[in-house]
Symmetry: C2
Subunit: 619 residues, 2 copies
């Protein structure tokens, strides 16, 4: 954790400063010295070794010994008389000796005596050894403290690097129309693992309500056979702590968690705090819902849309404390079953203070829990949710298609203060979002968007198997909804389709795992190209031992070619020596010279390069 601060004072006095830090809850502060950079900027750093919250602050003081030594050195250099200066110095050293003991005290005493008795300039006495001793017993009587205690939260590694796969368990039976179970879902884990994903995210697995249950394609009046939306939570079979009977039992779920773990996959659960009219809360706690003037419970509305199958919880009810406690107990319940990863549905429609409180409460008990915010809303709201505790957030990536849009947005996310609190998670599609780009671009568009998501973001995810099947038919023209959306019906997928993107996706995820450069967001840099359809960017490790250059053809129709212009020194390359560009997708190896290099990408074969750059690349 590197900390920088402007530290200065009027006048000529020399300053010293320390960075102070501690794990939250500990009473003792640790200190590390800060060092000046340029222009009154100082820096210091401390190690973050555990998950949880660290606090830090600064202290700085006028350092009489440092001031004195600077002046003395200048005078000695100029050959000036320093008789009086030696006396001043001896006093400072004697004062320090009073705070020392043992050998240090004896040594300081000797230095002081020598300074008082020496008739030369004193340069032999004012040694680095003395400076080091004086640093141990500083005179901090003129010390000031920074008036804030800041904090930094440390999450486990998955918060910073993860590949998510969203799957509807009920579509896993393998038989058309047959409702899949959590046990069926187990059989698909190997498939998910083969593509290299390390998070399997399940839409809500709770009992689905019957009142106003939506039919296929979100039709208002469904048939009795319709399975309903998993986000319509709650029936007489239970609410947020129950499992939809057709999916199985809590024991099945725990088994799924364990089996997934064996394959390096973590399950993420969807938390959608909303109820159908059939949810047990409605009967047991009508006071947790808002009433209409006629006394009926207010259903969800976003005029002109009505959601009569959904009752929003009233977070500001007079009985809010009981409600909040109950919702906290939902997280606790699933944590007890082994869950550590939650995808939170629409957090921006619930109060900020609720999230701040509940995330803190959950993390206090289960420090390794992570929360992904599905807040498709205005930027400042998204950022606020990140600041108050969400570990990752969905982004506008799905709707950023052109080079200018992508460059502007990802520069904001990774190169501004936003990077200090907001961890983007990039999704080219979701069950709610089939973008126009995917609808019109077909297979090349899916490949392009996958490479962009997986390389622009250290965290990304896809809604599969719709994604690897290149499913791209909208419900109607102008809609981002899927036709025959899996949100409202069981789908049967052909997992063995030879046209599937499965192999390609697996390759991309293996490249991500093998290359540390792709496991961070902050090193992202965009590079000029002379073709608006070619976007070029790089990521690297801090030591530049792993440098990856990505070039993507944004045009899903035609081959695009052009010149990319690299800043070689920044990429750790010697501009006078040729270097190798190893395409990790196709395994092709190019020898490049200098900053300008030619590329051509055919969207109908592979629309992107992921190039490892270096003078010597291991084979």
């Amino acid at each position: 954790m590197r900390v920088e601060s402007d530290i200065y004072i009027d006048g000529q006095d020399a300053l010293s400063a320390v960075l102070r830090y501690r794990k939250q809850g500990h009473s003792r502060w640790s200190e590390v010295p800060m060092e000046p950079l340029v222009n009154d900027r100082w820096w210091g750093e401390f190690e973050l070794t555990q998950t949880g919250v660290y606090q830090y602050t600064l202290q700085a003081w006028v350092d009489p010994y440092k001031s004195w030594r600077e002046v003395l050195t200048k005078k000695i250099t100029a050959g000036q008389d320093v008789t009086l200066d030696r006396l001043t110095g001896a006093e400072l050293i004697e004062k320090a000796a009073q705070h020392a003991s043992g050998k240090a005290r004896r040594l300081l005493g000797q230095f002081a005596v020598a300074l008082r008795s020496d008739n030369t300039g004193g340069e032999d006495i004012v040694t680095d050894e003395l400076a080091a001793l004086m640093k141990k017993f500083p005179d901090r009587s003129r010390e000031v403290s920074y008036d804030k205690v800041l904090s930094v939260e440390v999450d486990r590694k998955k918060a910073g690097f993860s590949a998510w796969y969203e799957l509807f368990p009920r579509s896993c039976s393998g038989y058309p129309g047959k409702h899949g179970t959590l046990r069926d879902c187990e059989t698909r884990l190997a498939y998910v693992a083969s593509m290299g994903f390390d998070v399997l995210y399940l839409p809500p697995i709770h009992p689905i309500g019957h009142s106003f249950r939506k039919g296929k394609n979100n039709e208002l009046s469904g048939n009795p056979d319709d399975v309903g939306s998993p986000w319509a939570i709650g029936s007489n079979e239970g609410g947020h702590k129950a499992i939809h009977p057709q999916l199985g039992t809590v024991e099945d779920f725990k088994r799924l968690i364990a089996k997934a773990k064996e394959l390096g996959i973590e399950i993420a659960l969807d938390i959608a705090f909303q109820c159908t009219p059939d949810h047990p809360y409605v009967k047991e706690h009508p006071e947790w819902f808002r009433k209409r003037p006629d006394g009926s419970i207010q259903y969800a509305e976003n005029p002109p849309k009505k959601y009569q199958d959904i009752y929003p919880l009233d977070f500001e009810t007079e009985h809010w404390q009981e409600l909040w406690d109950e919702l906290r107990s939902v997280f606790f319940f699933w944590c007890e079953q082994g869950m550590r990863l939650f995808r939170v549905d629409n957090p921006h429609t619930k109060p900020f203070p609720f999230w701040e409180w509940v995330i803190r409460e959950v993390k206090a008990k289960y420090p390794d829990v992570l929360f992904l915010a599905e807040a498709f809303t205005r930027p400042k709201i998204m950022y606020r949710l990140a600041k108050l505790g969400f570990s990752q957030s969905y982004t506008y990536f799905a709707w950023r298609n052109t080079k200018a849009e992508l460059t502007q947005y990802f520069t904001e996310l990774t190169q501004t203060e936003v990077a200090d609190f907001f961890r983007p998670n990039l999704w080219p599609n979701t069950p709610d979002i089939l973008t126009e780009y995917l609808q019109t671009g077909g297979r090349p568009a899916f490949m392009t968007r996958l490479v962009l998501a997986a390389t622009l973001g250290a965290n990304y995810g896809i809604y599969g198997p719709a994604f690897e099947s290149c499913e791209n038919i909208p419900r109607e023209r102008g809609s981002e909804e899927y036709l025959n959306s899996e949100k409202y019906e069981i789908r049967t997928w052909n997992f063995e389709d030879p046209a599937s993107l499965r192999e390609f996706i697996g390759r991309i995820n293996r490249i991500r795992r093998a290359n540390k450069a792709l496991q961070n967001d902050r090193s992202l840099r965009f590079h000029d190209t002379d073709n608006e359809q070619l976007i070029c960017f790089s990521k690297r490790t801090a030591d530049r031992s792993n440098v990856i250059l990505i070039v993507v053809n944004l045009d899903f129709r035609y081959t695009q070619s052009g010149w990319v212009n690299l800043t070689l020194e920044e990429l750790g390359l010697n501009p006078t020596v040729p270097f190798q560009a190893h395409d990790l997708i196709t395994d092709a190896r190019y020898v490049w010279h200098g900053p300008r290099n030619y590329v051509a990408l055919n969207p109908h074969t592979v629309p992107a390069h992921i190039l490892r750059l270096g003078h010597e690349i291991p084979t």
Copy 2:
């Protein structure tokens, strides 16, 4: 005073917000409504009508009526049933009516009744008249206040636009070697006024010490005849509240102030808080100075340099309160004589808290006093002094010569948050600073630097008559000191030299006065040129009725030509119509078409254009 703020809330509720402001010391806040811009940004403004400090803050609240009206409108548009919504609205209106009286109360009551009884959609009832009434009686029960009260300080106009002329009164006798007086200085006022300056700044006018008095060219042991440095303040003839006897009396000084005022010139006094060993403070208050280990008073040092003629005051002495009170009384004394403008010498070598306190104290008694900080030090120290109260500050302008340097520095000063607290005052020379550029560039360099100072800065100044005489011989190679510096001897100037820049300077100052565009700093914009020696920038009034384009040849040796590239819309010009560029220096008029235009500037005639741009320029 325009204020912007991010204002947002979780959920769907509509917000209202007000900007609250008051003059410091007043108890009642005034309120103006704030309006949303885009992306959760709101704005509001209030008028600054008096000098002094204004405080401001914000309040915002969830607005139930606004929320209700938005939802109702959407439902009506969608043709949905609003029976229940009408009841909710009626309740809100009845609640507002309880806070109203008279006609408003009656009207609100009628609206509520109509809503309750109406069987139509209600669109005829929810009128703008009702909205305006509801705005008068808002339900602010769910209001939050911004947790800070911010302040803005209003100075009189001279703080933002001024032209300074620095003159040594003792050089004003007109006879070689004869010590000039304040009465002699009076005779030079017409000369200063003829050049268009509105501030005459005098180096310290106090008695000069005798101990260790510096000789000509800063020699350590002067002759008895040497006049000494005006900054070596204090002798048995008095200290900071006395006038050097050879200059005259306090009455003479008051007369000078009055005569200057008749010519539109304000006198600025130099405040240098330091003492010679002969200053009355040394005898009367030895406790205000730091002691060396041998008991003698510590003189000023900046190793290897020693200033044995100067005793710095010890602002942190145990008796600091008496010292600070005395220094405040120095300001009060000169304010009583009519002074309202102080140039403060080396403020960065005195404590920040002293300046913060003394400036506040002086302004409390004399609200129209302005302080110019001569802080040639590190940028953050300069900015801090500006933040804590200085009205204007010297800058690094003297050492910014190339196009890149000037562009970078003045973009920082005028286009970043620095512009919120720091008012630059640009000096091409001072008695301490004869830059290498002026030393080597001769007359063209003086003209170039004058135009840059007078147009890049709304506030600027020159040290004359050295400037208009193009005096450019340094004391020695590599030094920025003048040979035979006026700091240490009386100089005789030829005010009637036909080679003087007097006429040119007068012309530039008249252009500044006649063109409001040049009277602000924030509108500064740099424009591309294709020649590194040609710098081009513009200033404009907010309404673009006055738009000035400046082009300067930075090469004092050769004619430079090239193309300047303007952003015409930003300059208020129609790109499809030719416009006039009227050179206010030479009175030449050019007709220009489109953004790219050709210029050529010969440094040996006039090295700059100051062009007024417009489609119709008054003749």
